[in-house]
Amino acid sequence: MENKPTQNQGKLYRFNRVKRKHIEKLAGALSVLILLVVFGLISLFLIVFPRSTESQIEKRKLATFPKFSFSSYFSGEFTKNVAEFYDDTVPFRDSFKTAGYNFKSIFGLHTADEVKIVGAKEINKNNPKPVETSKPSAESKPSETSKETSKQESAVSQTPQESKAETSQMGEADYTVENGIIVVNHNGHYRALELLGGGTGDTYVEALNNFHRDLGDSVQIYSMIAPLASEYYLPNNYSGFSINQKECFDSIASRLDDGIVSIDIDTVLAQHTAEDIYFRTDHHWTPLGAYYAAQKFAQVANLDFKELSTYQKNDIEGFVGTMYAFTEDPHINNDPETFTYYVPSNMDKCTTEHYDTAFTNMSEWDFFVDVGDPQHNAYLTFMGGDEQVVRVKTNVKNGRKLAIVKDSYGNAIPGYLFGSYEEIYVIDMRYFDLNLVNFVKEQKITDLLFTMVAYSALGENAGKLDVLRTQ
């Protein structure tokens, strides 16, 4: 009878109603049992396993258990933070996060020349936004540094999402040059490209011209702005998402005083785009890209310069840089690259002095350092980071001393100039407490190189340059 239709209240059934009731009970019990076991196991997993404290992917420390106070309880902060602690510090958080991203990749169509847009907007050329109309205030606190700054730190408190939110809250006068990220699948590899929304570079030009006026011709000033990788690797049909950086740099060069030498590395790098001059998974150029820039600088500045073959080549395999955190795209994480850096042959004849940002408390250690978790932090190999002043004394005797004023892009440059200068000072424009004009004079610096990525030259960081001159 079981499989034969049965008439019941005018409706045809293919089963026996009495037997079905038993089966329904059995199936219901089995279903409840299975669901309860899964639910119970997840609950136990979350309670028993040790909680995560840091996220490598998001580059931040995770929430901590809040301290109880009556005021925090009645304001709702305490309970909110307890829940946040529990949700934020899930055991094996990064692995689950990756699994979540991988799951989400089934949402879309994946084509050979796939492009994923992360927070980017096409630039409306009919209705351009105001650019850098206000001069950034001299009172800018160090904590108010731009996105470029936050990217550098290995454990920052802000999440990428928060950083984006901060940008969108800015008023029109503080128009940011940031314009999101595009991830492209090119020749079978994924590459994340930061986009440039625009900017006149007025603040940068004014600051460098002021330095030139204050220092006179006794110090030769150079300006070397590094383009973002999107200058070369943006697919043609997405060109509307980023400005033409070369035009921007040329415009800046034309407005700098005659005594300041502009170094056009945009054209130089354009000749090497078939090589790995930019990381695919990180927002920096590669040490090879920096080499070509340094070579051009040496040529313009009339310096001795060593061929790349004379350097000791070092590889760090499996490198996945900051772009994974910014895009949260699993393709980036699943497509690591090799971080190759070059150590000059006279390294053992050089001494590297690390100072704090007030140029005190010297300690002597290497220029190229071994970093923890090199698969993610390899770019910190250069000096170990930004928040310091570094002086390298070389074995060269030519009477020339160089100060490099830079953002993190500039970290890859000094190593190529150890055979070109007697002394090299590396100063991060975001972390320097002294008056730079006085410092240059006191240290008897002969060459002053401003080198940074387009974001810094066109965006907020440029405002820090004049602060260095006046503080």
């Binding site: 089966i23 279903s31 979350l46 309880y73 009645f74 909110k80 946040e84 879309g108 847009i117």
Partner: protein, 481 residues
């Protein structure tokens, strides 16, 4: 505490579930639920839990007084006091800032605008209380004699903060006499997991698209300037937003109904595939049913404007429906916008509309609904204006914006399966599949369906939990109302 958080699911709910099912008597089970509900509410509102208790006590007490003095003017007085206080609390906590802003604007004066933080769920539990008082006044339900039982009704955590607005009559019997069968627990758990998946997998992903273009306004960020968005791009994003609101809110309702069922309560449905409607009137019979039926029963059928002025009453209902959603003009416009179409449909008559071509009625209703969600989305009047300029194609003439753009095309491709899946799930496809396994097939088919469904639910629960690891802040949209 939000349902879509690991903390709620695997700590709070797990403990409550254990505590509930280890109690033997129904009284003890009810006490477990009351304590759990108060903790649940106090977790988000440590101070305003007092307001919930006050509201519960006042309405419980007044209902008893109404019964004591039934059919006398005193009953009317007590009902008036209870409803008056309920509405007053709602106005104070939800609309004071809005009222002062508008008075300032209208009279060009500068009364300081108070920034009162609205207690979570006040719109829902107040409406439940009002429905209870009205039902007691009309004698459709007997008043509850025990305060703790009434408190259980009003504060029951599955439906406390974002509905559905459960009528007392629905759970009156179950407060005193209920038994959660294995089938209830199984069906309830499946329903809750489907609701969780709707929220975490579909709604959150759709909101990722929306915030990319319109701004992360649900998390307190300003709206993006959408003046340069393309014509089709704006349509695409507002369709995503419409789907988002549906999945977010119906997901929440599914969880609420599912959790209720796991504890033996059978709440009414709150959604019935609203996007398959052919008219706007039908849409509102399928969308947020507990709210529309509340206004129908307690406002529309009460001839406030006089029996001869039913259309005025209709617009009052839609004004209130809009205003209920938030203290902002766009919600009022949104309510009245639907009121206008329902008025037109009423004038045209159901019979005449039934004769219309089905495809055309579907296109008509979807256009009105999607544009309506645009109004619902933008509380910033400037961006609401831009939205209308874009959606009508005027943006191409005024701002020089494009017909279509590569960015939204790219977003569409990157989320193509998500959107197709979301549209499919918003239709009664799952219902048909369930019918096939449960009713049409033989016992083997039934067993396969049941166990296969359980396996899929396990997968959905695990995937939703994994996705929750990455979404520290994902409140439900209707928490705001």
């Amino acid at each position: 505490m939000v349902f879509s958080s690991l903390y709620f699911l695997y700590l709070f709910l797990a403990v409550v579930f254990l505590a509930y099912y280890t109690r033997k008597s129904l009284k003890q089970k009810n006490i477990v639920l009351i304590v759990a509900s108060l903790i649940f509410y106090a977790w988000g509102e440590p101070v305003w839990v007092i307001l919930l208790l006050f509201s519960a006590y006042l309405n419980w007490f007044m209902a008893l007084k109404i019964a004591q003095h039934k059919e006398t003017p005193k009953a009317q007085l007590f009902a008036g006091i209870a409803i008056g206080v309920d509405i007053l609390l709602l106005v104070i906590f939800k609309y004071t800032g809005f009222l002062v802003e508008n008075i300032n604007g209208l009279l060009h004066i500068g009364i300081p605008v108070p920034h009162i933080v609205m207690p979570i769920g006040i719109s829902f539990f107040t409406f439940q209380a009002i429905s209870y008082i009205m039902d007691c006044y009309w004698e459709t339900v007997p008043p509850q004699k025990h305060f703790y039982k009434f408190l259980l009704y009003l504060s029951l955590f599955p439906q406390l903060v974002a509905g559905p607005i459960v009528r007392y009559s629905v759970i009156e019997q179950e407060i005193d006499n209920r038994k959660a069968t294995v089938s209830d627990i199984s069906e309830g758990a499946v329903r809750a997991i489907i609701g969780l998946s709707k929220k975490v997998i579909i709604a959150n992903s759709l909101y990722d698209i929306v915030k990319e273009y319109f701004g992360d306004f649900l998390n307190g960020q300003p709206y993006n300037d959408i003046s340069s968005m393309s014509f089709l791009g704006t349509w695409f994003v507002v369709i995503c937003y419409s789907l988002y609101v549906y999945f977010d809110f119906s997901g929440y309702s599914d969880i609420a109904i599912g959790l209720g069922r796991m504890f033996g309560f059978h709440f009414n449905e709150n959604f019935n595939y609203p996007f398959i409607c052919k008219t706007i009137s039908e849409f509102w019979q399928r969308w947020h049913i507990s709210l529309s039926s509340f206004f129908r029963d307690y406002l529309f059928y009460v001839p406030i404007m006089g029996k001869q002025r039913k259309y005025l009453n209709l617009f009052l209902v839609w004004f209130c429906t809009g205003l209920w959603h938030g203290a902002s003009w766009n919600f009022i416009f949104w309510g009245l916008y639907f009121g206008i179409f329902i008025f037109i449909e009423t004038k045209l008559g159901k019979k005449r509309m039934k004769k219309w071509n089905k495809v055309l009625t579907h296109i008509y209703s979807k256009l009105i609904i999607v544009i309506g969600f645009g109004i619902f989305c933008f509380s910033d009047m400037k961006q609401l204006g831009n939205f209308f300029i874009n959606i009508t194609g005027l943006g191409m003439a005024i701002n020089g914006s494009a017909f279509w753009d590569i960015a939204t095309w790219n977003t569409l491709l990157n989320n193509l399966f998500l959107i197709i899946f979301a549209i499919a799930v918003s239709m009664p496809i799952l219902q048909k599949i369930k019918y096939f396994f449960n009713e049409w097939g033989n016992n083997v088919v039934y067993m396969v369906g049941k166990l296969g469904g359980t396996a899929i639910c396990c997968y959905l629960l695990i995937m939703s939990s994994i996705l929750l690891v990455d979404s520290t802040n994902n409140p439900f949209l209707y928490f705001r109302f």
